[in-house]
Amino acid sequence: MQAVTQATLDFLKLYWAPLLCGVVIVAVLPLIVGYIVLIERKLMADMQARLGPMRVGPHGLLQPIADAVKLLIKEDIIPDDADKLVFWLAPVFSVGAALLAIAGLAFGPAFQIAQDLNIGILFVVGISALGIFGIVLGGWASNSHYSLMGALRSSAQLVSYETAAGMALVSGLLLAGTLNIKSIVEAQGTQGVWFGFLAPVAFFTYLVASIAETNRAPFDLPEAESELVAGYMTEFSGFRWSLYFLSEYTNMIVVASVATTLFLGGWLRPFANVRWMNFMDFLPPLLMIGIAGYCVLRMPKQPTRVQQIFMLAVAGLCFVVALVLAAPVLLPFVKPSLKESVAPFYAGIHGGFWFIFKVSAYLYFFMWLRFTIPRYRFDQLMRLGWHFLIPLSIINVMVVGVAIIVASYFKLQGWAMLLATTPAAILAVVAALVILSIDQKNQARQESAAASDFYAG
C-alpha cells in the first residue's frame, strides 16, 4: 500500500504541470468550442445580412451556455436495433482522439502538455486521424441507411485526403528539418520567413485537405443535410450528438494549429527578427483596448439594465487582457533593469496571443469558405483529391527538395530562398494542371462509354 502511495506521489511530482494543463484544456475546451460556434453563427448571419442569435445575453453572448444546457437535458435516444456497445463507444472515441491530439500542440513557447515531443507534429496528425473511427463506427452502429452512407463517405474521403495532407506536411517538414514543434517554429524564427511563403503549394494543399478532413463545407458530404439528413450523426441526440460536435470543432482547432505551426510561424510575431518592426508589440494591447472601447461605446444602446452591465463587464475583461499584454512590453521602459526577468513572460504571453490570433484567422477562413462555396458532389470531391491534390502534393515534395538543395548551393537564406522556391512552386502547379487536363480528356472519352462508378475514386 505504501509503495503505491509513494509511486503516486512521485508520479504527481513529475507530471503535475502536464496533468493540470490537461484538466484545464478538457474543462475549458467545450466553452471555447461553444463560442467558436457562436462566432460562426454571427459570421453566417453577417454574410447573409441578418443579425444571428440576439436573445440570450447582449448580442447573444450567452447563447453557447443556453445551447449547452439544452443539449445536456435533451432525451438520450438509442435506437432499438443499434449496436449498443459501439453506439456508446463511437462518440467517445472521436472526442478522445481530438482531445489527445491537443496534448502535442504548443500554443506558445511555454504552453505544451507533452513537452518537447520528438515526433511532435506526427503525433498530432496521427492521433487526430483516429477520430475517423468515431464517425465510421457511429454511422455503422446506428443501423440506419443515412448513417451508413455518411460513414462510408467519410472514410473514403478521409483516406483520400490524408495522403494529400501528409505530403503537404512533408514539404513543410523538409524546410524545417525536424518533427519537433518547438524546433519547427524556431527554424522559422532563424530563417526569418514563414514556411507558408517558402512552400505556398504545400500550404494550399494542406488547407484544402484539412477542410476535407474536418468534414467542413464545401466538403461536408458525410453529413450533407440535403442528401443524408445529418449523415453519420442522424441517430445521435443530446449529449452524444454534442460529443460529435465537440470533436468536430476540436479537430478544426487542431488542423488550424498544425497549419499555424508549420506554415504561419507558430507563436512568432510577424517579422520577429526585424528590429524596427518592434512597434508591433504594441498592437495586441491596442487591439484589446480598442475592443473594450467599442463595448463601452455600444453600452448605452443595449435595451435592458442587465445587458448594459454585461457589456461593461466584457469591456473590463478586454481591458484586463490588454493590461496583461502591455505589462511585459512597457515594464522595461519604466525600469530597464527588469528587462531580463520580464523576457520569459513576454515570450509566453505575446507568443500565446499571436498563436491564437493566427489560429483564429485560419478558422475565420474556414467559415468564410463554408458560407461562400456550395457543396461538392461526391465524385467531384474524389476527382479533386485523386486527380489534382495528390499529384500536386507529390510533385511538390520533389521540387521543394530540389529547391532546398539549390538554395543551400547558392547559400540563399531567409527571404532570398524565395528565388529558389517560387519557380519550384510554379513548376509543381503547372505539372499538376497538365496531369489534370490529360485526365479530364480521358474522363470525357470514358463518360460517353459508361456511367462512372460512384465510389471508384
Binding site: V86, N118, I119, A129, V136, L152, A156, L158, E162
Partner: protein, 172 residues
C-alpha cells in the same frame, strides 16, 4: 514501478484484445478489439521510448489499415456472414501449429534462464534521457546502412500497388 505497471497495463489490453478479436462473431466488434490491441502495442513501443515506432504504428496500422478494414467490413452483408460457418475448419492443424509455437517459445525462455548467451538476448536498458532522437536515428540507419533493403522493400510495395490497380482495371 510505474514502468512495470504501464507495461502490464498495455500488455494486458493487447492480449485481452487479441483474444476477444478472435472469439467475437461480429466482424465489426472483432475490428474494434484489433484496434485496441494495436493501440496497446503502440503504447508498449512508447513505454520503451521508441516514440517513432509508436506513431508509425498508430498512423499506418490503426489510422490507415484498420480504416480500410472497417470500410470493407461495412460493405459486406453482415447478416449473411453471421450465418455462415467461419470457425473450426482447420481445427487440428491450428492446434498442432499453436502447440509447436508455444513449445518453441517455451524452449527459448528455458534456455534464456539456463544457458547464458542462448535464447532471448538480454538487452541493457537504455538511459531514459540520453536516447538519440528516434525519427533521426531511424532515418539515418534506413538511408545509410540499410539503403538497399529499404529500396527493395519500396519497389516490392510499389509492385503490389500497381498489381492491385491492374487487376482492378481488368475486371471492367
Amino acid at each position: 514501478m510505474l514502468d512495470k505497471a504501464l507495461f502490464y497495463f498495455f500488455a494486458g489490453i493487447a492480449v485481452a484484445g487479441a483474444a476477444l478479436m478472435v472469439t467475437r462473431r461480429n466482424a465489426v466488434h472483432s475490428a474494434i478489439f484489433l484496434i485496441a490491441t494495436l493501440l496497446a502495442t503502440a503504447g508498449i513501443f512508447l513505454q520503451l521510448r521508441a516514440e517513432f515506432l509508436f506513431i508509425v504504428q498508430i498512423i499506418l496500422y490503426v489510422g490507415g489499415i484498420m480504416v480500410l478494414f472497417i470500410f470493407v467490413i461495412m460493405l459486406v452483408n453482415l447478416d449473411v456472414a453471421l450465418h455462415q460457418i467461419k470457425f473450426a475448419r482447420q481445427k487440428w492443424v491450428a492446434l498442432i501449429v499453436t502447440l509447436a509455437l508455444t513449445a518453441q517459445v517455451g524452449v527459448m525462455f528455458w534456455t534464456t534462464g539456463k544457458m547464458p548467451g542462448q535464447g532471448f538476448p538480454i538487452l541493457t536498458a537504455a538511459p531514459a534521457n540520453r536516447l538519440p532522437p528516434n525519427a533521426e536515428a531511424v532515418a539515418k540507419s534506413l538511408f545509410s546502412s540499410y539503403l538497399l533493403p529499404f529500396e527493395i522493400a519500396s519497389v516490392l510495395l510499389l509492385v503490389a500497388m500497381i498489381g492491385a490497380v491492374v487487376m482492378a482495371k481488368k475486371r471492367e
